[in-house]
């Protein structure tokens, strides 16, 4: 990866881990845009992925006390797609506190954005570990 123009190949995987703070979600957006550009996505698709990965981080943070946790982002280049996995680690659950109406509205909007921008996405929570993921295929270009 010394050549900034070098294309990434199927199977290449990049990991990023950072403290689960809102002001650092921008790191996920920056890395995703850079990696996806080298995986062959066009400018419009890069914008979609930039927005989608931020929403993915928000999904991973939902319902958790993330003040002491980390967000771990894993990007995998597939043949014609990119898969992004975002997990929240070392954070405690928020103890069943009901989300506020604003949080519910934001979650609904986040879901709509991901549904519109990526081919597949989901979220699962198990034993206190939260994982959100998405997959987006490259558009086929004429010629």
């Amino acid at each position: 990866m010394s050549d900034p123009g070098e294309r990434l190949a199927a199977g290449d995987r990049i990991e990023l881990r950072f403290p689960a703070r809102g002001d650092l979600v921008v790191l996920a957006r920056l890395v995703t845009t850079a990696i996806s550009a080298r995986a062959g996505f066009d400018v419009e698709e890069l914008e979609d992925l930039r927005l989608a990965v931020g929403e993915l981080c928000l999904l991973a943070l939902q319902g958790s006390d993330a003040q002491h946790g980390d967000l771990r982002l894993e990007l995998t280049v597939l043949g014609d797609a990119v898969a992004i996995d975002c997990s929240l680690e070392r954070a405690s659950a928020s103890g069943g506190v009901a989300p506020s109406p604003d949080e519910e509205e934001t979650a609904r909007l986040s879901e709509q954005i991901l549904t519109a921008l990526v081919d597949d996405h989901g979220r699962q929570s198990e034993d206190g570990a939260v994982r959100a993921w998405l997959r987006k295929r490259r558009r086929e270009h004429a010629g």
Partner: protein, 113 residues
């Protein structure tokens, strides 16, 4: 990381104008929420939200906009959102908010001279 984020308030002829610049996301949206809540609490039922200088919006930003829209409606006014960047307009479209909010592509169209 949000050094470009900036909020400016000015008095328009018919309503206060809140002009935002930079990225509005989970880190900066709370500042926008506080600003809008204060302006509305000060007695403005109609507010112009100028997003012409915004480069990025996420769901938390949209949630703030929707919340302000609801509060303005409850008071008999409206939130007029000014946004022109096609990338941002697309976000309002895919979330169905173009059918809910009053959105214009210029300050003039929002009634700001």
């Amino acid at each position: 990381m949000d050094q470009e984020f900036h909020i400016e308030e000015r008095r328009g002829a018919v309503a206060p104008v809140i002009a935002v610049r930079g990225e509005v996301d989970v880190a900066t949206a709370p500042q926008l929420r506080e600003h809008l809540q204060r302006v509305i609490a000060d007695g403005s039922s109609t507010v112009v939200l100028d997003l012409l200088g915004v480069t990025f919006l996420d769901s938390t930003a949209l949630g703030v906009v929707v919340g302000a829209h609801k509060r303005c409606r409850e008071l008999g006014g409206e939130l007029r959102v000014v946004v022109a960047d096609p990338r941002l307009v697309k976000i309002f479209e895919i979330t169905g908010l173009t059918g809910v909010l009053t959105i214009t592509d210029s300050l003039h169209a929002a009634g700001v001279s």
